[in-house]
Every structure is written in C-alpha cells, then in structure tokens.
Amino acid sequence: RGLLTRLNTPICIVCYLAAIVWFMGLAFEPFTLRTDMSENAMGSTMVLLRGASAVPRQGVRSSQKTGAVSTWLVKAMQSRGLEVFTQSFSRKLPFPDENKERYMVRGTNVYGILRAPRAPRTEALVISAPCSPGDSNNQAVGLLLALAQYFRNQVYWAKDIIFLVNEHDLMGTQAWLEAYHHTNITGMEYSPLQGRGGSIQAALSLELSSDVITSLDLILDGLNGQLPNLDLANLFYAFCQKLGVLCTIQGKLQRNDWDTAEGYTHAAQTMMLMVLKQACGRSWGDHGLFLRYHIEAASVRGINSFRHYKTDAATIGRLLEGMVRKLNNLLERLHQSYFFYLLPSLSRFVSIGCYMPAFGLLVVILLLRALDLWVHLGAPALAAVEGVTEAQQPSGPAVLTVLTPVVISHLTGVALYLLPVHLQEMAVEHFPVSETEAVVLTAVAIYTTGLALPHNTQRLLSGEGTEQGWKVLKLTALLYLAVLLGCTALINFSLGFVLAVTLVPITASMTPHMPKALSALVMVLLSPAFTILYCVFIYQELIEAPVSVSEGWMLFLSVISQGILDHALYGSLVYPLLALFIYPCWLMFWNILFWS
C-alpha cells in the first residue's frame, strides 16, 4: 500500500511519457508493416485494361440550371444502356451552413444501373461522382459516363454496377443511402427509390476537378472515424503502381528515405493528419456515409499540382476499370484485412494491435490514480477505528456530496447540447449576429458559464465539503473518464487518444490543495474546447497553410458549427460525446479543484 502511494506519481509520469513516445514511434518505418492484398478472391492486378477510350473531352455543362442538368444526365445514361432513375430529396438545416452557403436544401440524385448480363441481381457495386450546379466536378461525371459506356460492352460482370451522380455531395449521398436501405435516421425527406440493385459490396467516389491531373489522392476517413477495409487501399495502391500514376494519401507523396529525419517527420506528419481527420468524426469524402452500412468505400480525388508528368483521364479510367474488375471478382464483402489502422504512408500501415498500447498506457494512469485513491479512502476508516473518531463519516452526505456535482455537470452538458440550436431565434432577436454565429456563440457562452458553477454548487450543500468528499468524487470521476475514453478509443481511436493526451495529465493530478489560480489556468488551457483549438492550429500547420490567431479563432468557430451540423445531418457522434459526456466529466474535475 505504501509502495503504491509512493511510486504512484513517478509511474504515472513514466506512463504518460511512454505513451507519447510510443505514439510518435508508430510512424517509424521498421515498426510498421507493409501493406499487401489479403483477399484471395481479388487476385493480383493481372487484368488487361483496355481502358475507357471514349472519354469525352467536355464534361457536364455547369452553367445549366439544376433541372436541365439532371434531364441531360438521364438522357446521357439512357443512351448508354443503363436503367436510369432519379430521386428528389429536401432538408432544412438547423441553421445556415456558412461554409457551403446553404440552408434550405433541395436536390435530385440521378443514378443508372448497369445490370450484369448473366448474373442474378443479388449484389451491386457503386461508383459515384458528386455533382452540384456550380460545382467543379464535371470531369468526374464525364469519366463516369465513359466508364458506363465501356462497361456496358463487357460480359464479365457478376454484380450490378450503379453509377450515382448525387447533388449537394454528402446530403445527396445520405438521402440515397437511406432510401436504398429503407431507413430514416437523420430526418431527411426523400422520394423512395424506383430502381434498386442488390446489396452493395463496395463503393468508389470520384472527384476530378480538371481534365489533366498530376496525382490521385485517396481518402479513407469516414463518418465517426470509421475506415474501410485496408484491402481497398491496397487495391488502389497496387493499381497506381501498375499504371505508374502518382498516388498520395492526406495529400502527401510517399518518401523512401525512412531512416532520415525528414523521412520520419514526413511519415509522422501523414499519420498525425490522419489522426486529426479521424478525430473530428467528419466524413471527408462522399464515401464516408457508405461505411455505416458495412459497405467498403473510398474516395479518389484528382489533384492538379505543378508537376511535369501529367496523367490523362484515360489512365484514370483504366485504373478505375481495374479496380472495379477486381471488386467484381469478390465473393464476399471485404473482410480479410484490417478495419482499424493508421497509415503513415500508402504502403505501410499500423494495425490496432500496435497503436492501442499507446492509449492503454494513458488509461493506466487514470486507473492507477483511482486505485491510489481507493486505498486512501480505505485507510482513514482504519485510523478512525483505532483512535478517537473525530467526525463520523456517515455515508448519506458523502453520497449527496458526490451526486450533486455529477448531476449539475451533466445538466450543464445537456444545456450545451440542446440550447445553442434551440435558442438561436432568441439570440438573433437580441443580438446583431447571424444564426450560425448565434449558435456557436451560445455554445461558447454556455461552456464558459459552466466554469462558474463550482462556486454555486458548494453553497447548495448544507455543510462544507469534507476531505473524503472530494476524494470520492475524484474516484468516481476518474473511473468515469477511464470508461468514457476507453469506449471512445474502441470506436474512434484518434478521438480517444487526442482527448486522453490533454485530459489525463490534469485530471490525474487535480486536487483542491494545489494553487488555485495556476491550476485553474492550466485546466482551462487543457479543456476540451482548447483541445479543439490546438488541433485546428496543428492541422493547419500540417497541411502547410498556417493561420494567424484571429483566423484560427474563426476557423475554430466554424469547426464547432460544422460539428453541430454533422451531428444533425449525418449522425456524427463527436458533438454529443463532447457536450454530454466529456464536458461534464471535465466540469466534475473543475468542481474538485474548487472544493472547499
């Protein structure tokens, strides 16, 4: 017992440092594994690619109105022999989206189904290209039509291929998927689908903004940090190598010099980017919404940067043809390779078995502290038994002492979750702000109001707080945080890890006996809101577009609004998690700090 108490702090510090070092070491190439195709049915890339030779030079005419575009698309697909259907959808956002400038969204999805000539209609593959009027994804639609024409002439399709052109990118995909699977989880209104394929085995989303590109970027991060099966990334990379196309991930090209400092930092940067993107729970490409239905999907984005070697659309067509042909060979859904991984580069990966210990070390700190507290809580009882019992510790007030802060913290969390959206009209009436700003600023206001709470909850209680009271509260809070972070890390490792890195040091070391002002400042600086702020700055640094403080602050506000919108529109869980669970937990520790 004495050993535990004495060694507790050193062990905690060692664990924390070890976790950070382990995490950074994950990007070091000898610790990673080489990616390889695990699915036997797909085979290697040996397939003759005659290529979509009929790639049209011009894309979709973007100057047309919405209705005209979809009519043109319907005619184009019908002329290529597909079964064409349309779907209309509409949705009123909870507040205007300032990034995409939309509030009342109304759109039409157009999709054509290429029926497999000899196979039963039990399985399907989806190739989609988001296309909105005024958008610049014309080339992708053109490529889609060319592929449709080429595929129509082949006899070796074992699955139906659905060519989807969705409007308003993620919203259109969400409407189409919900209608396809007969669910309605986000409250969108849509017309039912007239035509259907079988169960979708895999999906690819294309984004091509210009007709010549220099590299292809693969986007894997999906909603709530879900990732497709690694075999899809392996397939893409294998074909890129076969056709000699430059392929990037997170916008970064792979380097071969892993043993140099630059090589290592490059890999570490790529991995950090993936961690940050996964942590924010957004779907970074149209494919992200497919993952929820257990459909392995990835987005391919063409990038035109300043390089000499340019790839034309025909090569991209051949790459896609190869990928779709290999996916056609699948007998079951992709399941042989990993579902949880981190990619420092396209050819190397870190599996869950390698990166989980980093998180485990952080949680161990919380558990050690809890154990220490548990032991201490047991000790005064023994002392009280021997000597004169000064103050009886009835269990009644002790429970009440713990329960009150917990309840009040969670009520604050519920307020943070519900009030910003509901109070936006009232805020707009009283203040000269737009709805989006009203929502975000309300959220920030509630967050800061929560900081004032500890002084009030103490007065609610009859007596003053006891030494044992805060220890019980801290024990509960530590275990609660450990469980919370553990569950988060299982679903979305990056989110759990990022939260743990900032929350664990302050929560493990927080006691009422520390200097109040300094520790209050540290606690605020490491609170969840500031974690998001730091992540924004780090993200901007990593994508080589650093921002100033004011720009960063605006970006931070837009991140909050995007988080709330993602939750309302697509069911992202990051905002509710932070508002309803992480923030109350942090408030409980804030309470402990001001225990008197």
Partner: protein, 357 residues
C-alpha cells in the same frame, strides 16, 4: 535300304505336322508380350475439387487430362468427370463457354463434347468414395458409376488445394490419405481394378500416396511434402491463372502421345523436372508388379478396344481342331505311310531311289 527310306519319310511327315503348332506358339508369345498388362478395358476418374472463379486453373487441369484420355481412345461412357464448379459459364468469364489452358486463348479444353458426370455441389468426398468403391444406390445412372472389373486399368486424377495428408473438397471438407488408401484397398478386395494409376496435382501432393498398401498401384504427384505446386501462366484478358505447372507440362507431354505410341512410364516420371516446375514431382512404384519401363502410357491413358486377345490368338492358331471332331491318331498315319513306302520300294526296287533324291 528300306529302313533308311522309312526313317527319312517319317521325319518329313513329322515336320509337316509340327509346323502349324510352332507357328501358333510364336504368335501366342508375341501377343502375350503385347498384352502383358492383362487388362481388357480402361477407365478414368478425373476430379477437380475446388470451386470459385480464382480456382479456374484446377478446372482447366482436369479438362486437359480429360481431353487427352478422350483423344487417346477412352470413351465418355468409361470416364467419370467430376468438376466442382462451372468455369465456362461463370459470370466472370469474359469468354463464356470456354476454358483455356494456354494463354492468348490458344487451346480451349472445354471443347464441343464435354460430358461432366458430377457437377458443382455433387463433387463431395462421399460421392467420390462411393464412385471408387461402387457402393452407389441403385437409382444412380450409369454415367455416374465406375463399372470396372478385375481386368480394368483405371486412371485417377485429382487436383485442387491440398496439404500434408489431405485434399480439400470445395472449401468445406477434406479427404485424408488414409481414407484414399482404404478406398483403394476396398477396390482391390472387390476386384475392381487390374492396375491403377494415381496422379495428383496439389500442394504437398506426395503425402496423398504415402499410405497406399494395395497391390498394383502406381502414383505420381506434382510436389513433395512441404512444397507448394505452383500455377503456370495468367491470361490477362481472363484475369486468372490458367493452369498449374505440372499439369501444363503433362498436357504438353500427352499431346505428343498417339494411340500406337510406345512411350512408357519412365518418360512420364520425367515430366516437369524441378527446373520447370519449381516443385519436385514424385512417384511411387513399389506396389506395382510390373517394371515401369514396360508399362505403356496408353495402358492407362488410352483404351483397349479388343475383347480378350489371348483367347482370340489361341482360337486363330488352332482352327482345325475346332472344325473337325476326330482325326486318326498321328502314329497311325505315320505307320500307314511307312507301310506304303515300304511296299513301293519293295515292288519297284531300291535302284529307283536315286532318281527320286
């Protein structure tokens, strides 16, 4: 003088009578040498045990052996062909109704008249063993039976995915080498074969013939225990590997064999050495009674069309005894002629003898 005459004439008569006998013996020996294996009919059981599109090569293996045995004379009624999946009509086949063995679509082994007896899910371990041992329900059609007898030479060819001591059937069950050895013993006890040639093309194929213990079995395998059998060439238009190396070179060897060929088993053992096959093919002949060098390829891969050559030769050589029931004994004829000659020379005198000789 008379006795001298008598002796020469007796010798002459003896020679006349014994020439047909000597000739028939000679023919019989020659015929006996030609049909020394003792079999009168040929059967083949060709099995492909894997399904799914990426196992295209196993179906192509089996079909190429099928093609060879048909070409060399075994009719469909004597071949039991078991294919676990339909590659020719698979949705993923860019050239429907074909199965190619050489890239660039040189050779279509699916041909025009392929007769598959056990197809798809009917290819199971139980059905295979029942075919071998003959324990089939009475309702089984003739095309699905191995109706061999004790004068049949049987060729058994297996291909698929295998391991040390087992062969996998259709991703759901396995046959072990002990089961196979016991099945062959059952066949021997029931006198269902005269001689049996067993060829297997799988990974670690040699483990499948380790446990054989019945007589008159010869076995060949594409790889030793611990080695993998490799696939040969992919065809990019079809997108899969077309054949396995061992059967590919086996097919090339068999294409050179014609029905009258004198190629023997020693040539077959040399097919696909390690330099071509990467794996080391193996064979087992200790249970076989004849010398492999005297065993013709066509003993197993071809077909014997005549019924029972030995008896026929014996019939041809001794036609007269069949047509006539009784003839006077030889000694009597000899004595009669001697008497006639004696009387002749006694009557006309010996001096005329020098005119005759």
């Amino acid at each position: 003088m008379d006795y001298y005459n008598l002796l020469t004439t007796c010798a002459f008569i003896h020679l006349l009578v014994s020439i047909p006998y000597a000739y028939s013996n000679y023919v019989e020996n020659k015929a006996g040498q030609f049909f020394s294996s003792g079999h009168t009919n040929n059967w083949a059981v060709l099995v492909c045990t894997s399904r799914f599109w990426f196992n295209y090569r196993h179906v192509a293996n089996t079909l190429s052996v099928y093609r060879s045995v048909k070409r060399l004379g075994i009719p469909d009624s004597h071949i039991v062909l078991m294919l676990a999946d339909d590659m020719a009509c698979n949705y993923r086949n860019p050239k429907p109704a074909t199965v190619f063995s050489h890239k660039n679509m040189e050779l279509n082994v699916y041909g025009d008249d392929v007769e598959v007896d056990y197809r798809g899910y009917e290819v199971t371990v139980e059905n295979f063993l029942r075919v071998l041992t003959g324990r089939l329900p009475p309702s089984t059609p003739r095309s699905k039976r191995l109706l061999s007898d004790d004068r049949s030479n049987i060729l058994i060819y297996l291909t698929g995915h295998g391991g040390n001591g087992f062969l996998k059937f259709q991703d759901s069950e396995e046959i072990s080498n002990m089961e196979l050895a016991d099945a062959f013993e059952q066949m021997w006890q029931k006198r269902r074969y005269n001689e049996l040639l067993f060829i297997i093309d799988t990974c670690q194929g040699a483990s499948m013939y380790e446990r054989f213990y019945s007589p008159n079995l010869m076995a060949l395998a594409s790889s030793q225990v611990g080695e993998d059998s490799l696939s040969h060439q992919p065809d990019l238009a079809i997108g899969v590997h077309l054949m396995d190396k061992y059967t590919f070179y086996l097919l090339e060897f068999l294409e050179e064999v014609h029905p009258a060929s004198q190629a023997n088993m020693n040539d077959l053992f040399k097919v696909c050495p390690q330099s071509q096959c990467v794996s080391t093919p193996g064979h087992r002949t200790d249970l076989f009674q004849r010398n492999p060098g005297s065993v013709l390829i066509t003993d197993f891969f071809g077909s014997v069309l005549l019924h029972d050559m030995k008896q026929l030769v014996a019939d041809v050589s001794s036609q007269k005894p069949k047509q006539k029931d009784w003839h006077p004994p030889d000694g009597f004829i000899l004595g009669l002629w001697t008497l006639i000659l004696l009387v002749f020379f006694q009557t006309y005198g010996i001096k005329h003898l020098k005119h005759i000789f």
